[in-house]
């Protein structure tokens, strides 16, 4: 029984981080219509800069702010200088450019900082509270709280703010967007910048757990990708629910079935959702009128 409880609770904690990794992908998908594969490497740049600052004496708060600032900047630059300009050739070149950018960044990181995993500071390892006998550190609590507020914030932004609504319109209908004067280029840059910030934030929670290497955030984005496919590409709320569900599901699979089955279960459930509900569990289903 304790095994089950702990599996469930820790599954939720890690699942929320999965959701957060999906959130950055949704933000870019909503304005641009493709997935960015470069978010993990954008985060890595921020994290390595942050770690350097931390090692030379910066406190945790400054480190965290620096990580987010650098990721935001790098995200914005990648969008502004590489990917968004390539969109004029279509979605595929733009999406491919995110892969190329990712590989270039990780190549440069391997060259400069090397592939060794290192430890990354966290909020605090001391126990904050205990849920059904499972100890939660302040880092866990901060991760859950920050993720939750990010999700609420993004949800409100996309559904209530005019800019948020416009961002969704940009990708949906180019012609209308142009005629209505929607500043699509600017909105796309905003989305890349915001996604960069989210990647940095995600990194702050991933790096202490996975330890910081050039690939640590990337390995998690796979789960974020599944979360948004299962939850629905256009649904922030869907990413949250699906990410959490993935966390619990993979944890239970690993505990009760076989850890090597985790990827199989993950991808199979993603395919199943795609087959049954192509727009995801929480994506709005488009009825076709006859």
């Amino acid at each position: 029984m304790e095994l089950l409880q702990t599996s469930l609770i820790l599954g939720v904690v890690v699942g929320i981080v999965y959701s957060l990794s999906g959130a950055g992908l949704v933000v870019i998908f909503r304005t641009s219509g493709y997935i960015s594969f470069t978010q993990g490497d954008i985060a890595a740049v921020g994290l390595f800069v942050g770690l350097a600052a931390y090692n030379s004496g910066a406190g945790y708060v400054w480190t965290a702010l620096l990580v987010i600032a650098v990721s935001t900047l790098v995200g914005g630059l990648v969008g502004a200088l590489i990917t968004v300009p390539l969109e004029k050739h279509g979605h595929l070149p733009a999406a491919l450019s995110t892969i190329a950018t990712a590989l270039i960044i990780s190549g440069l990181l391997n060259l400069t900082v090397g592939g060794d995993p290192r430890s990354f500071p966290e909020v605090s390892r001391s126990e904050a509270l205990s849920i059904l006998g499972v100890q939660m550190s302040w880092s866990d609590v901060a991760g859950v709280l920050v993720s939750a507020s990010v999700f609420i914030g993004l949800g409100v932004f996309f559904s209530r703010s005019r800019m948020g609504v416009a961002m969704r319109a940009v990708n949906d209908n180019k012609l209308a967007g142009e005629l209505l004067g929607v500043p699509d280029r600017r909105l796309k840059l905003v989305s890349w910048t915001v996604a960069g910030a989210l990647s940095g934030l995600l990194g702050l929670f991933v790096a202490p757990i996975l330890s910081l290497s050039t690939v640590s955030v990337n390995t998690l984005l796979v789960f974020g990708f599944c979360a948004i496919v299962i939850g629905g590409f256009d649904s922030i709320f869907g990413a949250l629910v699906a990410g959490t569900a993935i966390g619990v599901m993979t944890n239970l699979t690993s505990t009760y079935l076989d850890p090597n089955l985790v990827p199989t279960v993950l991808w199979a459930s993603m395919l199943l959702v795609l087959l049954v509900r192509p727009n995801g569990l929480f994506g709005r289903r488009k009825l076709v009128r006859v």
């Binding site: 702990t6 890690v14 590989l103 060259l111 757990i209 993979t250 850890p259 090597n260």
Partner: protein, 391 residues
Amino acid sequence: MSKKLVGLTVALTTLSTALAGCGGGGDSASGAGGDEIVIGAFSPLSGPAVSASSGIYATKAALDKVNDAGGIDGHKIKFIIKDDQFDPAKTPGVTRELVETDRVSMLCGPQGSVPFGAVKDYLAARKIPTIVNAGAPTLAGEYSYLVSSPFDGVGAMLAQFAVEDLDIDKVAIAYSDDALGTSARDGAVRILEADGLEPLGEIKYDITATDFSSQAIQLKATGADFVSIPAAQANVAGLVINAAEKIGYKPIWGLSYAAQNKTLVDVTKGAIDGRAYFATPYITEESETGAEYAATLAEYAPDVEVNSGATIAGYTIGELCVDVLTKAVEAADGEVPTSAQIQETLSSYTADNDYIQGIDWSDEPDGAAAAQILQLKDGKYVESKPFAPLP
């Protein structure tokens, strides 16, 4: 998706490798006297696994030292290192270059079970002998000689150490479902059963996973005081340990030279200091021979991590290669030995020296049959139990 990324990484990091200029081979030693002995190896000189390359730099250090002392009977050793990025898709290409273009007479210390697995048959077909720097027992063959102890014995030795030396009978095993992990598990179970015990849990993990909380929970539930996880590399061991300690489970950890390095200490933030034991067939910096090793490394490869299991393994293999080549040169009457002559030497080679004990390739081409146990104490690896035959 990540696989695709990895695949593409290969293509792009080739570029960065070229930029870094670290893909090249060893400098040809312009030795006076006899002809050069050309040998080679592959290693992840760049890419995500670049940290493992400390092993090849240590191998090279051992060879450079001999070259600076005049070589082997006047023959300098030309050591050509090719970058395969630890990617078994790249290994065959660089190995062909070594064999067919560079005409190496043997491979000395190519790294990695998976990369070497990709070229083992090719090398055997070309009759190029190799002293392999990897642990998987399946790699041993007519032309491939292992140095690192078999993990069955490593797992057995750790279990024996827990039960007999630490007086712990509550032992759990964490293992990955591969040749290394399962043989380490079987070795531990064998010893425990011989002592009338059984493991409180055999918890499987996936080395590619990101989240190890499930394993942590299961390990904690066993209530074991000693967790044996010898086949894990430092990064995976670190993740498992961190996940367990995070939920308040702090047992004694049984590891091996595979995880013995700075990365483990760094990733676990020193939390396991005093509670981690490492079974290894290799020496430590603190020993008498180790001082000589450290001095050589400081001179020829000052940037690599001295205390890492991979570095010491690499260096030891370098020393073995020198010894083997010396014998092969003798057998060739002072001339540069051919591959066949080196193979002949290897197939009857035994070693019981300051660096490695229990190598007997005249019997089986597998690794050292003796190991010691080290304890991580104040950031250093100190001897906890001296060298003894693997149980």
